[in-house]
Symmetry: C2
Subunit: 150 residues, 2 copies
């Protein structure tokens, strides 16, 4: 995708986040890394992505501090890609995409993967926005407070 405007200096965190991860492949790589994929070949096999495109995405994610390169966990010569703390925090973005997809894009009864609680195996609850005092906030109960123009 050609970026016509750089958003890396934006005052909107949504825009700045998309500048870093706003690419279909990048988020799928992060999704797979959250599930424990670590090797170039494993990302490639899982995603069906061309090697060059995968290499570029991985390099960018390392440069942006979302993945880091680690020695192979089995002592072999292959290096591995592991999420940093900053990268792991994207699990909420991936979960929000998942829950929206589940609710909006599947026919009733159509099979899909499900995010479950690791200890009990039960489906994770739907994310909800909460006010500072704990009230659940619907989409029209929030507003964006913009930074004053300097």
């Amino acid at each position: 995708m050609v970026k016509r405007v750089s958003l890396s200096q934006a005052a909107c965190p949504v825009a700045r986040a998309l500048d870093v991860i706003g690419d279909w492949w990048s988020l799928l790589i992060i999704r797979d890394a959250l599930e424990g994929v670590r090797r170039f070949g494993a990302f490639q096999a899982g995603l069906g992505i061309a090697k060059g495109m995968l290499a570029t995405r991985l390099r960018d994610l390392v440069e942006d501090g979302i993945l880091e390169i680690a020695p192979a966990s089995d002592g072999s010569a292959y290096s591995e890609y592991v999420l940093t703390a900053k990268g792991r925090e994207l699990h909420l973005v991936v979960a929000a995409l998942r829950q929206w997809g589940e609710a909006a894009l599947y026919a009733p009864g159509e099979d899909h993967s499900v995010l479950v609680d690791r200890t009990r195996g039960q489906k994770v609850a739907r994310l909800a926005l909460q006010a500072a005092d704990g009230r659940t906030l619907q989409w029209n109960e929030t507003r964006v407070r913009h930074v004053a123009a300097v």
Copy 2:
């Protein structure tokens, strides 16, 4: 962005969601629509996007049932783009991107816009994954249960 694999039939809701909204511009359009932007010219002015690119994105978002075309709210001849119920549910995806961006991509003290509770003006709480029984779940306390291959 060239999509080398269509994800529209994927069994993973993250992939299917990205097939529909996994584009930098689409999510920025949705962000602005959530803030009340409705007119072609207003989207264009806010985003600094080329007219043709904006027209394509708006058409796709209407086709995918995320936006719908409505008569102008002021009675003029211009049509407006309004989020559907399915589109409004993306507020959680936009909020998750925002909160990750705030935490990961700004220097201490650097200004950015903030999502606040409309009635009290206080910053919205950080999203958190919860188990069915209410426990907060960290990134490594969940797993994906895949659909059995047919």
